[in-house]
């Protein structure tokens, strides 16, 4: 049975929930879980202070409600499942390497930051720097699948290196900035300068803005790649599958750097 955490009070401070992961709670009793400190200030606050705990297997952890003060939800997740029936704060699913994290509300900045594997799904909107590296880190997301049903803020997919990001809503400016490789699909309207300084990798935009002059038009050509990728995405998003079925036109760039990346737009 699922371990269920039901919030009792509004969090009096920002919380660090990165200790609440299946592999960390596997051998812990409810009492031990209740004693875990989640504070981010000098004022101590424990799981027991905040949540009513319904004991169960920690392989699946469900938060019955969320809050934009819930930081680090699923941070470092490597197996099992975490469900949040509400919002989450910064660093949701950061550095996760396996398992599944589903957040039904909105999330703050750096959701899926530097994630390396697993599946992260956000039903609401995300803040800036989706999947991006934190300060001083070289790479953003390096594996797994990130599905955002709502819209993303600025610089979504910054320094993406591997894996797939699918954004069903719109995206802010500098989408896929400094992209290294990987695939980034946006079904909504994208802001200015997508793929700014991207080296390799693929961005697919259903509603692209005017592209920078450093992206060169390669026109249309025959390839099995969109059909294969569209079929992979079909279980996740019918809209994405539809986008990949339509004829696509390729722009290569960013010629200001390596120029081996590409932006596909409907032909």
């Amino acid at each position: 049975m699922t371990l269920v955490l039901t919030p009792k009070v509004t969090p009096p401070q920002r919380l660090d929930l990165s200790a609440l992961l299946p592999h960390l709670l596997a051998d812990k009793s409810s009492k031990e879980i209740a004693a875990i400190d989640l504070a981010t200030t000098c004022e101590k606050i424990t799981v027991g202070d905040l949540f009513r705990i319904r004991a169960g297997s920690a392989e699946e952890i469900r938060f019955e409600d969320g809050s934009e003060r819930f930081d680090g939800v699923g941070q470092g997740l490597n197996r099992g499942r975490i469900l949040v029936a509400g919002d989450a704060g910064i660093n949701a699913g950061r550095k996760m390497s396996g398992g599944e994290l589903v957040i039904s509300g909105n999330v703050g900045p750096y959701a899926g930051s530097a994630m390396a594997g697993g599946r992260l799904e956000i039903l609401g909107n995300a803040g800036d720097f989706l999947a991006a590296p934190r300060e001083g880190e070289l790479n953003g997301m390096s594996g797994g699948l990130l599905v955002l049903r709502g819209a993303a803020g600025l610089r979504a997919g910054d320094r993406l290196r591997r894996g797939t990001i699918l954004i069903e809503g719109g995206a802010g400016d500098w989408l896929g900035s400094r992209l290294i490789a990987g695939t980034l699909v946006v079904l909504g309207r994208a802001g200015m300068s997508p793929g700014y300084l991207m080296r390799r990798g693929t961005i697919v935009l259903a509603k692209p803005p005017a592209l920078a002059a450093t992206f060169v038009d390669c026109g249309q050509f025959a390839s099995s790649f969109p059909a294969v990728f569209g079929r992979f995405l079909l279980p996740e998003s019918r809209g994405a599958a539809r986008l990949f079925r339509a004829p696509l036109r390729r722009f290569a760039g960013d010629m200001a750097v390596l120029g081996k990346g590409e932006i596909f737009v409907p032909a």
């Binding site: 699948l145 591997r162 025959a222 390839s223 099995s224 790649f225 059909a227 294969v228 079929r231 590409e262």
Partner: protein, 302 residues
């Protein structure tokens, strides 16, 4: 030789002796059925026997567009060799020279196994730096720019060490016409069996061989015991009512696939009967000491 008679066809109480091989499966797609088939036919050409071709390969069957990874018409191809190294060499040469070159083609792995062979991981260098790697989940593809667009090729394909090569049926008939008709009926039935191929021309070989030769340079030579023209001159295996012998050789990804193909072939030959088809079915073996897989004909009768 002792035999069982089924619908008038004598089934020898003997067995086909088969050997372990390394094998893999691919799905090759094209812009339409014609070009999917063309790429597969070209890739599996000159691949009848490991003795002279380096591998044994053929088309396992057609794959409907809705069942291929890219939604285009496809052909499933099986390829077998005696060692993993031989198979790797043959695979990359054949995909590189015959599939990559074929208009509109794409190449996908169709066998998952812990051991792998490289395809796109080697062919990508043809892209001269413009090749693009794409991963999704545990699948890895290479996109190689070519003059008609892009060649999409899976990075690796599974390698099975449990493949079986050399299952066979010796189809003996009164004359040429009836023997060929029985062999064709058997191949037709065996084509429906998944994971098994008949690598010889149209599935049929007329020059069955024995081990050894009077000439030092040759390891194999004509199977004189089954040559009607040598009856009387050599220790023949043919009865007086047999005027022609054709052989079907089967390779399969599993022992069960070879057995299933032999079973289907035998059933078709028996159904045809001696009046229109074969009078006798036998099988080739080396006394049972060389190959670990023995397919007894009597066990394969439906």
């Amino acid at each position: 030789m002792r035999s069982i008679t089924k619908n008038g066809v004598r089934i020898d109480d003997t067995f086909a002796e088969a050997f372990p091989m390394r094998g893999t499966a691919l799905v090759i797609t094209g812009p339409n059925k014609r070009w999917a088939r063309q790429a597969a036919v070209t890739m599996t050409g000159f691949a009848t026997s490991v003795i002279g071709c380096g591998c044994e390969a053929s088309i396992d069957g057609e794959v409907e567009a809705r069942d291929t990874p890219d939604g285009r018409p496809g052909m499933r191809v099986l390829i077998f060799a005696m060692s993993s190294n031989d198979l790797q060499t043959q695979l990359v040469n054949r995909v590189g020279q015959c599939v990559l070159t074929s208009p509109g083609s794409a190449c996908f792995a169709d066998l998952s196994a812990p051991d792998v062979l490289k395809i796109g991981d080697l062919l990508r260098y043809f892209g001269d730096g413009w090749q693009i790697s794409k991963k999704f989940g545990d699948r890895h593809f290479w996109r190689i720019p070519v003059m008609d667009g892009e060649f999409l090729c899976e990075a690796t394909t599974g390698l099975t060490k449990g493949a079986v090569g050399g299952g066979n049926l010796l189809i003996c008939g009164a004359d040429y016409e009836r023997t060929l008709r029985a062999a064709e009926a058997a191949v037709e039935a065996m084509n429906g069996v998944r994971d098994a191929i008949m690598p010889f021309p149209g599935g049929i070989v007329r020059s069955g061989s024995k081990v050894g030769s009077k000439y030092k340079a040759l390891h194999a030579s004509t199977n004189d015991a089954f040559c009607p023209s040598l009856r009387g001159a050599v220790k023949t295996a043919l009865d007086d009512d047999i005027g022609c012998v054709l052989e079907i050789v089967i390779d399969g990804l599993t022992e069960a696939a070879v057995a299933n193909a032999m079973r289907a072939g035998l059933a078709a030959i028996i159904k045809l009967g001696p009046r229109n088809g074969a009078r006798r079915v036998s099988a080739g073996n080396y006394g049972g000491k060389l190959g670990p897989f023995h397919f007894h004909l009597k066990d394969l009768l439906v």
